[in-house]
């Protein structure tokens, strides 16, 4: 039996490297109707902010060539309701659970992280300094190295479990941010969040998403994500969780070869709600077919000759 477990740092062990990406998997409970999410390596919940957020004006999504645009605006039920309504469900999940943490100001991140630190069934947080769709906070925290370092450092002070930080591709050099976030105490990095994108309806002349500029995701961004993972793997020592357009087990192998330790499946969950599970199954098959006895052997395994 091929070994599929991977470790993210010294405190997270995934039974396989497949996680689901924040914003594409709700709080996990929506998918338990379809399959046992215990078969996944882990899940990352939708972003949680201190207060409820109703989200951005409409329309919020549009399909494009090779992907989609979204501008949801971190719509979520807020920290208190998350704890009272969703934690009792999450407690039963037999997989690693990360909560994506966001906010308008630094103190929002600290507040959410501090509260989540006390909850046993939450294995780690993913600090979201890369949401492109909110006026305050979001990507603004992830594009300035000083600010990115400060958020990471301050959240680190109140959060003792695994802290993953999610990076934006909408910067000149992603390795600059990766390095300062590593130095400020992150345990791992997840990358990439969506790219800035837009689309216009040529009949009505209106933007297809109301916020005009939105986040572009899906298969079209995979090459962009891969090079970001590759470059960061050369720049930092902490583990990388790669994402961007992953739709197949082969894509997973590609991200691992580029230097990722694990991956997140995002937009593909919308194409098929069983996408992440199917990828786990297919990965095991491929490992058998290609005589890969340990998935860890693939990490950073790209060969030049």
């Amino acid at each position: 039996m091929a070994k599929t477990t991977v470790n993210i740092g010294n405190n997270i062990k995934l039974k396989n490297p497949i996680m689901t990406a924040s914003g594409t998997f709700g709080y996990g409970d929506e998918y338990t109707e379809l399959y046992d999410i215990g078969d996944l390596g882990g899940i990352v919940t939708k972003a949680i902010t201190p207060e409820l957020r109703i989200g951005n004006p409409l329309p919020r999504i549009a399909e494009t060539e090779y992907g989609m645009l979204n501008s949801i605006g971190l719509a979520n039920l807020g920290l208190d309701d998350f704890i009272s309504k969703k934690i009792p469900v999450i407690e039963n999940f037999k997989t690693i659970v990360f909560v994506n943490v966001a906010g308008k100001e630094l103190k929002d991140y600290i507040m959410v992280a501090e509260k989540l630190n006390e909850i046993d069934c939450i294995d780690g947080i993913e600090v979201n300094i890369s949401c492109p769709n909110v006026k305050e906070g979001g990507v603004a925290f992830g594009t300035d190295p000083k600010v990115a370092a400060e958020v990471t450092r301050e959240v680190r002070k109140v959060y003792s479990k695994h802290m993953m930080v999610k990076l934006s591709p909408n910067v000149t050099d992603i390795t600059t941010i990766a390095k300062v976030v590593e130095d400020a105490g992150a345990d791992s990095l997840s990358l990439i969040n969506t790219l800035f994108g837009m689309a216009i309806d040529t009949k009505t002349f209106k933007p297809k998403v109301r916020s005009i500029v939105a986040g572009y995701s899906g298969p079209g961004i995979k090459p962009v994500a891969l090079q970001a993972v590759y470059k960061c793997s050369k720049a930092v020592k902490i583990p990388l969780i790669g994402m961007g357009g992953i739709t197949s087990a082969d894509d997973v192998i590609e991200f691992l070869l580029a230097g990722a330790t694990a991956v997140q499946v995002g937009t593909a969950n919308f194409t098929n709600p069983l996408a992440a599970l199917n990828i786990v199954k297919d990965l095991k098959e491929i490992m058998k077919d290609r005589n890969i006895s340990d998935i860890k052997s693939l990490i950073g395994g790209m060969k030049l000759d």
Partner: protein, 270 residues
């Protein structure tokens, strides 16, 4: 929340008919979906052909009829997704279906006759609702409006049903000249229909049509149930992409799990 558990199935294509140019009726086989779908609920289909991962989004369709293990969808070929779907639908082939999704129509409002109003392809979910009521033996009146007579299809089927049927066209090329609301008001005036408040009203059609009927209902101190269509990604309440505005308060409903059917008093019809 969704009324019933949904399923991901490989549904076999039983038959495909082009009812008129670019209007497709397809019958698919899935016990899970056929037996569990309530009027107004929908399914989504993965239109990605072969193993290609684009287009990335599934396409939602109302279920328009069920019989035994089979269910039917009717759709206009309007763009990339429906174009691909048209080619995918070959008898014997299996396609990836998720459903039943969303809340259907509230059919348990007692004591009144049922008034069903359809605009254009809005007839698709209305057909399943009509099936439900006629099988129960309820009194059903159906008004179907189109821009002109070329918009109608399968009209014999509807004429064969034990219902009161009215048709209207904007240009008068078939039936009453005017829109669905015009004919509704005219037939009430002519005593061919009862007072609006004597009906449970269900409306599916283009936004402006549903809005006009909803406004008229409000004016008459009544309401109707409307079925909305919005851009949609996941269909199960995860992505928050299919939001529609609440009417009397701040915030949004999600078309996929809070709808697609809403009380006209509670939602801004997009």
């Amino acid at each position: 929340m969704t009324e019933s558990k949904y399923h991901e199935v490989q549904a076999e294509v039983v038959s495909v008919k082009e009812l008129k140019h670019n209007v497709i009726e397809a019958v698919l086989r899935s016990k899970e979906i056929a037996k569990n779908t309530k009027p107004g609920q929908f399914i989504t289909i993965q239109v990605t052909n072969k193993d290609e991962s684009v287009p990335v989004l599934r396409r939602p369709f109302a279920v328009s009829y069920t019989k035994g293990d089979d269910f039917q969808i009717i759709f206009d070929v309007v763009g990339r997704g429906t174009d691909i779907l048209k080619d995918m639908l070959k008898a014997g082939k299996k396609i990836n279906v998720l459903g039943p999704l969303g809340n259907g129509f509230n059919t348990k409002v007692n004591g009144k006759e049922k008034l069903l109003l359809a605009g254009g392809i809005g007839i698709a979910p209305i057909k399943k609702l009509m099936q439900h009521f006629t099988e129960k033996g309820d009194q059903v009146t159906l008004i179907w409006g189109n821009r002109d007579k070329s918009g109608f299809f399968d009209i014999d089927f509807f004429m064969d049903q034990n219902i009161k049927l009215f048709v209207a066209t904007d240009d008068g090329s078939l039936g009453f000249e005017g829109n669905v609301l015009d004919i509704l008001k005219a037939e009430i005036k002519n005593n061919n229909l009862k007072k609006i408040n004597d009906y449970n009203i269900y409306v599916v059609g283009p936004g402006p049509m549903m809005k006009a009927v909803a406004d008229y209902c409000t004016e008459m101190d009544h309401y109707c149930q409307v079925s909305l269509e919005t851009p949609m990604a996941c269909g199960i309440g995860v992505c928050q992409g299919c939001a529609v505005k609440k009417k009397k308060e701040d915030g949004y409903f999600l078309t996929c799990v809070d709808g697609p059917v809403f009380n006209s008093c509670s939602v801004e019809i997009p």
